[in-house]
Amino acid sequence: MGETTLNGFGAKAARKSGLRGVVEDWSSDQRAFKSASWGKAMMWIFLLSDTFVFGCFLLAYMTARMSTTEPWPDANEVFALHIGGANIPLILIAIMTFVLISSSGTMAMAVNYAYRRNRNVTVALLLVTAALGATFVGMQAFEWTKLITEGVRPWGNPWGAAQFGSSFFMITGFHGTHVTFGVIFLLIVARKVWRGDYDRGTPGFFTSRRGDYEHVEIMGLYWHFVDLVWVFIFAFFYLW
């Protein structure tokens, strides 16, 4: 499908580099971003919008944390795991973060192999990415279970400000939902790669539009974004 990709269509004129090139692109006809297909442009703009969603969530959490009169629970104690007779602070979060960042690595490799038309490796890497994502969500479920059994609720907790539980469940839940959707889409994309849909240009089930291997890259954009957001949640919620 031509309009989702740029490969091999039309003559590519020489483009100026730097700021001059930006001005030239924006004052040109047809497209402002010369190297971005429609799908990619849409994903970037969506992610910009989603950045504002997460930004508002985090700012709201910071405001709540700063304006509450009760003490905020200590992250080092709350998020510690009791392993081998000692409380290890943030150990679970460290593993979760490691898993999610690793999944970004496998995702990037999947994009690379997709553009090389290496279907088998691409499928394997996509499935590994999905598995790492699912592991992350699973560990998050474990973390939630642990906190709930310790008495943390959206409306209160044993250690201090009620907004701790509220913000925690809301923000990690919203992020976990993003990861879950990402895993589902990863599986769909993996299935399409496996069946060779992108080689044949099979029309999509809903959109009846033909896909190509760029879909793997667009999927990757979303996945890296979800990882990046986690870094901020990690920093502002667990390290603060």
């Binding site: 039309g10 006809d29 709201a60 539980g165 509220s166």
Partner: protein, 591 residues
């Protein structure tokens, strides 16, 4: 493309993207109901928005019944009054104006005006409408649940929005309202991504950004703003929903209700106000910028003259859009925030007056010595200019902290925002419908009915909202269902309220004439032909009218010039369509 000027000629580069492969509907259902054609989606959006807008119109009658004749109607209890006000405001701002400008005009005009065959993601575009419809249905459902819709005011301020004394606060009303807003935002995002990517990446050959009609610029900028502003409302709605359903305390401080301490504590109501107005102020311009753009095109076309200062008009739109993100707290001067904050936000607010004034001057200079045709779209455009100017000037009053504080809770504010973001954009919507109806249906709207509609609406709107400034200045408070025997409010206020109410009923009925005209002209209107206004923009140059699925015949148009070549000296006729290469070769199109 190097040549970015308004002039014709230059080198038209080869196509960078191949033809969009359209979805070919196979049945009646996929052609007219679950359609992926932006034009059908536009009509669905507009129809739904106008239907729910009629509900809001009737609610405004109920409000005016109570204000004009307090104590006469038993069924309008204070609770019911607050529910009417809340739903009237919310429907008008979100479900009518935003949906109609972006979902309606955006869907119809963007692909046609930039020379595209459709939006770039037709399937997501279709979903956008159906989720919007779902949001509207959830909103309507709140009228039929126990306790009725929420009566928290359209700003839904906590803590009162969630308390027992507020209608729907501890019942289903507020929940349905928040769910409906969340759905609206999800649906809008799907459409909004479409509009933005279509403008940025889906234009035809020769269509540079600086050759786009201002209508597209207005809708485009508003959509970008909406994509960045709605997240704040989304977050506020989610948090408030949690406060209400899960018992969290994001926005709920510790407070005593009916003698008992509530289970909430430690939340910040001001946080909600910040989130709400970070969305709420851009929202004003999300509604106003499409109106700015459309009115520019109406004035230029019907005055047969190029728009004055096109580049300035574009930059003014962009600058207004950017500035509107740093003025939100001017809605919160009375919230007790730090005076230095007020100083900052008053300054940014007044700076917005500069690009806005540029636009007003440019409209007037476009009219100056133009060949003004007082057609219906032109009448509405002129009415918009004076109304917007009027509302903008009272905005200068309210933008200043010291003037705002005494006026903030009075009818002056009601007068201001109804003038500037109620009446003014609605006038543009009417003008735009009279302007583009011939393209959508192939027939003209009836002129006599239209003139009746215009004069009653325009004069009536002034009769309604002008006296409200006076009511505000003498201190009549807003939000009160009845004034009672307040000592400082003179008797004449009651008479004036009765006068306003009667005018409101008359103006409301005039809108029914407009709706009748819309339906009657479908069948009996005068045949319009492809380009009745002799306009230059691409949507008037389609091979068939109304444009079919795919818009253009075998080939998409190629654009040679900007959208405003009216009355060009030496040209064979007083307009040169954007896809006309004159003077490179003679005009072939019949007038």
């Amino acid at each position: 493309m190097v040549d970015a000027t308004h002039r014709a000629g230059g080198v038209i580069p080869p196509a960078e993207v191949p033809e969009l492969e359209l979805y070919h509907p196979k049945s009646w259902w996929t052609t007219y109901v679950f359609s992926q054609d932006a034009k059908v989606i536009a009509i669905q959006y507009a129809g739904t928005a106008m239907a729910i807008g009629l509900v809001a119109l009737m609610l405004s009658w109920l409000i005016r019944l109570q204000l004009g004749f307090p104590g006469t109607f038993d069924f309008i209890t204070p609770d019911a009054y607050y529910q009417f006000v809340t739903m009237h405001g919310m429907i008008m701002v979100i479900y009518l104006l935003t949906a109609l400008f972006l979902g309606g005009f955006g869907n119809y005009l963007i692909p046609l005006m930039v020379g595209a065959r459709d939006m770039v993601f037709p399937y997501a575009n279709m979903l956008s409408y159906w989720i919007y419809l779902l949001a509207v249905l959830v909103l309507v459902a709140s009228f039929f649940v126990p306790g009725g819709p929420t009566g928290a005011g359209w700003t839904l301020y906590p803590p009162q929005a969630l308390l027992n004394g507020t209608p729907g606060g501890q019942e289903l009303g507020i929940i349905l309202m928040l769910v409906s807003l969340i759905l609206f935002i999800i649906g809008f995002t799907m459409g909004g991504l479409n509009y933005v990517v279509t403008v940025l990446q889906g234009r035809t050959r020769g269509m540079t950004l600086m050759r786009m009609p201002l209508t597209v610029w207005g809708i485009f900028t508003a959509t970008v703003m909406a994509l960045l502003a709605f997240p704040a409302l989304f977050v506020a709605c989610v948090m408030m929903l949690f406060d209400r359903v899960l018992g969290t305390s994001f926005f709920m401080p510790a407070l005593v209700e009916m003698g008992e301490l509530t289970s909430h504590g430690g939340g910040s109501p001001i946080l909600f106000q910040h989130l709400f107005w970070f969305f709420g102020h851009p929202e004003v311009y999300i509604v106003a910028l499409p109106a700015f753009g459309i009115v520019s095109d109406l004035i230029s076309t019907h005055a047969r003259k190029n728009i004055f200062g096109y580049r300035m008009m574009v930059w003014a739109i962009v600058i207004i859009g950017a500035l509107s993100f740093v003025v939100w707290a001017h809605h919160m001067y009375v919230s007790g925030m730090h005076p230095l904050f007020g100083f900052f936000f008053a300054t940014t607010t007044l700076i917005i007056a500069v690009p806005t004034a540029i636009k007003v001057y440019n409209w007037i200079l476009t009219l100056w010595r133009g060949d003004i045709h007082l057609t219906l779209p032109m009448l509405f455009a002129l009415a918009f200019i004076v109304t917007f100017l009027n509302g903008g000037l009272t905005g200068l009053f309210l933008g200043n902290v010291v003037v705002d504080v005494p006026l903030s809770d009075t009818m002056f504010v009601v007068a201001h925002f109804h003038m500037v973001m109620g009446v003014a954009p609605i006038l543009v919507i009417f003008g735009a419908i009279y302007h583009w109806y011939p393209k959508i249906t192939g027939r003209m709207l009836n002129q006599q009915l239209g003139l009746f509609h215009f004069w009653v609406t325009f004069v009536g709107a002034y009769a309604i909202f002008f006296p409200m400034h006076y009511l505000g200045l003498v201190g009549a408070p807003r939000r009160y269902p009845e004034l009672g025997g307040t000592a400082f409010i003179p008797e004449s206020v009651a008479d004036l309220n009765a006068f306003i109410s009667i005018t409101a009923f008359v103006v409301g009925f005039a809108q029914l004439v407009f709706l009748f005209n819309l339906i009657w002209s479908l069948r009996y209107g005068k045949e319009a032909g492809p380009n009745p206004w002799r306009a230059t923009t691409l949507e008037w140059q389609t091979p068939t009218t109304p444009p079919p699925h795919g818009n253009w015949g075998d080939e998409r148009p190629v654009v040679y010039r900007w959208a405003y070549d009216y009355s060009v000296p030496g040209a064979p006729q007083d307009f040169i369509p954007q896809n006309d290469p004159w003077p490179d070769k003679p005009l072939t199109r019949p007038a």
